[in-house]
Symmetry: C2
Subunit: 487 residues, 2 copies
């Protein structure tokens, strides 16, 4: 048996030492992704892509349950389409990749590689929608998009990324608002109950709004370095794009009216959020519901032929029991690395639960379970083991949510004045989210951005209504905002 433990470097930089280096180490050593030869573009490796597949499966089902269908629109968009909505083109122009030559010729009109698909989708919608009977249009697309990125970081900011974008059209303002909030809630549900991110949910400020939207809502998760990461967005467009693209329908009173629209999306960035929200100095920690493998089984003491046969029979049996209960399980039966090497590797890869079984365990009708979330190792009975593992995975899932929620709450400080806010964020190391009364002042907001690299994350929802004094304007307001440094 080769001793690979010493050969490979499995450790990562400590979070406390250099958080950014810790992140890069985890992404590489957990085998999630790497940079490609094209600057800014990443290769998502099988283990990282398997997380994305789980995200897709969960969300796709929720989209369908809420009445949406998938479709596919073209990668290339004529430059002139982007220019139809002024704010939109202004927002995206600096990030565009442009095809100028194709089929051996220079193109008459350059084609933009989609940075988002509002313009091409709305061009189609204007052809498809004639009557209120054609509404609502509830379409989602899973696709790749390209936004040229000057400072790429794996998953967080890449030139090409994968995402889904929902684009809907409704007969009334009210229905479109309802859709915007419904999909925001789908993301919140996913973030809380699957990714265990426990984000703050709320509306964006004027400055942070999506280019072309009337209202943008987001979920804002807190990373372990206490910065915010915008993890999904839901936009209400009113009739903005409908007017730019002439999406008109005959309403019930036989009048022509512009459609009311929304869009909403989540991207491979969410994998960055999962890494940074849960990871520790041993590597990745994955919530069971999105983990490629929920349980890894490591056979122990298999050097003797007799023992090996006995152990392999036992681990294969529990593996089958787990599969039958719908658990995603990996049996690590490699014989060229030691159990210790396997422990380190699966810890690095964040598998929620490890099950070890050796000849003695079998004799004693037991197994060893090691939890990744709380670094606990227990000897448990073999009786009812598979069922107990299913329960334990639920417990791990809930515990990870609780830890994330507690962490975010205990690192959120309520501040009463602008000075207090500035002082809070002067402490680079300890500052997290600041909550303050805020009724909107673009100048002060911009100033905080420029001077402290601190941004308005959202007006959080579901707070107790409370009157306060806006820290920027000094006016009385019912609104509160979260400020934070962010990714």
């Amino acid at each position: 048996m080769e001793k690979q433990n010493s050969k490979r470097e499995l450790g990562v930089t400590a979070q406390s030492e250099d958080y950014s280096k810790w992140y890069n180490d985890v992404v590489h050593k957990a085998d999630l992704a790497e940079h490609s030869p094209v600057r800014g573009s990443m290769v998502i490796k099988p283990y990282g892509y398997a997380i994305w597949e789980n995200v897709q499966k969960i969300l796709d089902q929720k989209f369908k349950e809420t009445g949406h269908e998938n479709a596919y629109f073209p990668l290339f968009i004529p430059m002139s389409y982007l220019q139809k909505e002024a704010e939109h083109v202004e927002g995206f122009s600096p990030e565009l990749a442009v095809v100028t030559h194709a089929g051996g010729k220079e193109l008459e009109e350059p084609l933009v590689v989609r940075p988002t698909s509002e313009t091409i989708i709305n061009a189609m919608y204007s052809k498809w929608i004639k009557s209120y009977r054609d509404l609502p249009v509830l379409i989602n697309q899973w696709a790749n998009v390209v936004r040229w990125e000057m400072r790429p970081r794996l998953f967080l900011r890449t030139t090409e990324f994968l995402w889904q974008e929902g684009h809907t059209v409704h007969a009334t303002h009210e229905e479109a608002i309802e859709e915007t909030m419904k999909m925001l809630n789908v993301y919140r549900d996913f973030a809380d109950n699957y990714a265990a991110l426990a984000p703050v949910v709320g509306e964006k400020s004027d400055l942070e709004r999506f280019a072309g939207a009337l209202n943008t809502y987001s979920i804002e998760a807190m990373m372990k370095d206490k910065k915010a990461l915008q993890s999904a967005t839901s936009h209400y467009f009113g009739q903005h794009f409908a007017k730019a693209f002439n999406i008109q329908f005959q309403n019930k009173n036989n009048q022509l009216e512009y459609g009311w629209q929304t869009s909403w999306g989540i991207s491979t960035r969410i994998i960055g959020a999962i890494i940074m929200s849960h990871g520790d100095d041993k590597g990745l920690v994955l919530p069971p519901k999105v983990a490629p493998y929920q349980v890894v089984i490591v056979p122990i003491g298999t050097k003797k032929i007799d023992d090996k046969a006995k152990v392999m029979e036992a681990v294969n049996k529990i593996k089958q029991e787990l599969i039958a209960l719908g658990v995603r399980v990996k049996l690590d039966d490699r014989d060229n690395v030691t159990p210790g090497f396997k422990f380190n590797e699966w810890e690095m890869k964040g598998v929620p639960l490890r099950l070890d079984m050796g000849p003695k365990d079998i004799d004693n009708n037991q197994a060893v379970l090691a939890r990744r979330d709380i670094s606990e190792k227990n000897i448990v009975s073999r009786d009812g083991l598979a069922e107990n593992i299913v329960k334990l995975l639920d417990e791990i899932q809930s515990n990870m949510f609780k830890i994330a929620k507690d962490f975010r709450e205990s690192n959120t400080k309520e501040v009463k004045t602008l000075e207090e806010l500035k002082e809070y964020f002067s402490d680079e190391k300890n500052a997290g989210f600041a909550l303050c009364s805020w009724d909107g002042c673009n100048e002060v907001e911009q100033q905080l951005k420029d001077e402290f690299r601190v941004s308005h994350r959202c007006y959080p929802m579901n707070l107790e209504p409370q009157e306060g004094i806006c820290i920027a304007t000094g006016k009385t307001t019912m609104k509160k905002a979260i400020f934070a440094k962010s990714y």
Copy 2:
């Protein structure tokens, strides 16, 4: 109630009148796809995309069962990468779309929008693979690719299309050959038992081989106009790309060796094959296993309030029973169109089975079932209806395979001489597949292509070995080939 029957034109051009127009009519009227404003690019509409989602689900499971993992590689490929394999770049150069500007600047090296991903994937593999312990690498990617298309046709030839591409590396020639054949067989299984295409399976000729491959295998389905459609391919590369991209590994004898590779793919073109293999003059006919809806329920005689309540209760009940059995079912409860309108629409959309239920049916403990594949309408008992529908869907699936197989076999003619072959294909209307002894002659093959637009489709596998005289060279050979006109 509006009379929409007369308003909308639901019919399609007869196949016998203009097959190509019939195809376009079906694609549009069944609401599968349409052209986008960017020439050659299509919009896949929800009903068409739902077929693709079923194709993906079925194949993705088969890929995973055969040990493959999904990953994601970049859309953009540096031009210099494509140039590393001479045959490959020659094959793809005329079809490339090129990004020359991005982020507001001209790029130093133009980026190609991937026409296929061999080059970028192999560049990564050369970094990842060091030892025989790293092999096999069994990776698949679901992605969009772009090949500039001069004569676009929806699904069949589009500038951008969706596909999967598997790319594997093995330690030996034998293993790579085994993989090539294994994946060819996955496609054959899918084509026979899910898409009901009953294709011929075999190896491509020198002229028809993929650019850079040593061997290309394909499945060739016969369309209703008796032309062939290449529906999936599996390639054996030997060490061609491994040498171009320096994919070397230390083998068990501690020697450096180049990897042995394969790739294999299927695209949204398969939807074109499904349309043209099964469709008729009433529109689309979908095999149950890939149909978005396997059963559509049409409530009948719901004008009276009392009847409506009774009928809706009954149809909702059978709907729930079918869902519980895993059937994909659509209840068409629109009240602004007549049942007759619905019949036509779902016929056009190729739903395998229609279930009608009215007040009288309920009184008589019965329902009406209309099969799409054989235009049969039967009154059946309500007892055990859901279970019987499941059986009937299987029967429809088998029957569609049988019809496709019979059609292909009865339109395949064995020819003994080149003159006979030419004569056969001179009859534009009746010519299908020609089977002949053929040991390979590029000149004659090219001549047939130029003069008769007839191409070598494959050397079919699973034929009884039989000695014959090659119709091109006059030499004795054991090999036989299929020639046909093709898409």
